[in-house]
């Protein structure tokens, strides 16, 4: 009985102290506690971002859906035999790459959004510009569908101003992974976010003038 009385009185005193505590102190101390907690997980600095891996020409890079090996980048005047010519004064920047689909479904490579290979560091090409065309090197067909387990060598074409780049200029090729968000709830098929750069490589541009016969 007395024990309970003592405990009750102490509780009463704590209660009174708490009531007297200014609200500002309360807020400050809560903030201090949160800051202290944040210090445990690395403070207020930006969370470290894993650097995008850099690979070399001829390395094959395993992405989530595609395994891509970039075989070179070059400038060419056009492909008159396929009736693929740039506007006057422009040339094509071609990235050659062997692409293998590692999923279980055929995959159409897009020219509306860059979703497998992009380039950066070329003055007349805006960032994230999709390739103008993707061609199968073997037969020159466009509208590329990569079948599962069958690697195919492709040419990605960007139109560049003829005087903006020359042989030997560096180009950054980025290998992209699609960012699957979820299956659509109202729409059919997967929903995808902006592609994620999963690796980059630096290449020096070659120049084959009007074209090459291999």
């Amino acid at each position: 009985m007395t024990n309970r009385g003592v405990r009750g009185a102490r509780r009463q005193r704590v209660r009174v102290l708490f009531d007297r505590l200014p609200t500002k102190w309360l807020l400050s101390s809560v903030s201090a506690v949160l800051l202290a907690l944040s210090a445990v997980v690395g403070g207020l600095d930006d969370a470290p971002v894993a650097p995008v891996p850099r690979i070399e020409e001829g390395d094959s890079h395993v992405g989530t859906e595609l395994t891509i090996m970039v075989n070179g980048a070059l400038l060419i005047d056009g492909f008159p035999e396929q009736s693929i010519m740039p506007a006057d004064g422009n040339r094509f920047l071609v990235v050659r790459a062997t692409v293998e689909n590692t999923t279980t479904e055929p995959r159409r490579l897009g020219t509306v959004d860059a979703d497998s290979i992009g380039i950066a560091g070329i003055p007349s090409v805006p960032a994230a510009e999709p390739p103008e065309r993707i061609l199968v090197i073997d037969d020159g067909s466009d509208r590329v569908v990569v079948q599962p387990g069958v690697p195919v060598e492709l040419a990605y074409l960007w139109e560049v101003a003829g005087d903006a780049v020359e042989a030997g200029d560096p180009v950054t090729v980025s290998l992209l992974d699609r960012d699957f968000i979820s299956e659509g709830r109202l729409t059919y098929g997967g929903l995808y976010g902006d592609p994620i750069v999963s690796a980059t490589l630096e290449l020096a541009l070659g120049d084959v003038g009007a074209g090459v016969n291999e």
Binding site: T104, E105, P106, D139, G149, V150
Partner: protein, 197 residues
């Protein structure tokens, strides 16, 4: 002042509530999934015989495996794999407005391959269909070389529909055994042709 609610009334409310919850649970757990509501209507077929869906009739005459194929257009695309070449006759049945062979799929186990559009006019993949006028021609599927001898290739299927999205419409499914076939070094196929054969 209102009379106190009788205990029977309380019990009846409880029973009613339980019944509503039970019905809701029944509806929730027996609603067909989206796949079940929208999936394609499968029409099984047999190699060499014609099979008909809502707006498509097709006959798979033969299936050949070849290392290289030359189409009627002169196209001869190379592949690190092999070509599974299907000789097909197909036409629309009721409506040919914007009707084409949008789905032509070879399914081996879990893996699906779409008919190659690399031969362009040399293949019937993606070509327009006409009501009552059969289109005869090849389909070329580009597949890994070791796939045609794998155990899953015994129960491979060919699937055809008039749209690239065959949900809620007929999907013709013709089983083929790819392991039976001898891999030919070369194959020449004809240009797609209209008319009965």
């Amino acid at each position: 002042m209102t009379a106190p609610t009788s205990p029977w009334r309380h019990a009846a409310n409880g029973v009613l509530l339980t019944a509503i919850l039970a019905v809701a649970a029944l509806v929730l757990h027996t609603t067909p999934s989206r796949e079940a509501q929208q999936s394609a209507i499968v029409v099984p077929g047999v190699l060499g015989e014609s099979v008909s869906g809502r707006n498509i009739r097709a006959t798979v005459h033969s299936v050949t495996v070849a290392e290289s194929v030359t189409a009627g257009t002169g196209w001869a695309g190379g592949t690190p794999g092999v070509w599974v070449v299907v000789d097909l006759t197909v036409h629309a049945l009721v409506d040919d407005e914007s009707t084409m062979l949008g789905t032509a799929v070879l399914r081996v186990g879990d893996v699906s391959f779409s008919a190659s559009i690399r031969p362009q006019h040399g293949t019937v993949a993606g070509q327009r269909l006409v009501t009552g006028v059969p289109l005869n021609g090849p389909l070329m599927f580009e597949v890994p070389a070791d796939l045609v001898a794998s155990p899953a290739a015994e129960t491979a299927t060919l699937e055809f529909a008039t749209d690239s999205d065959p949900r809620a419409d007929s999907l013709l499914v013709v089983p083929v055994d790819l392991t039976d076939l001898i891999v030919q070094p070369e194959l020449e196929v004809a240009f797609p042709a209209w008319g009965a054969r």
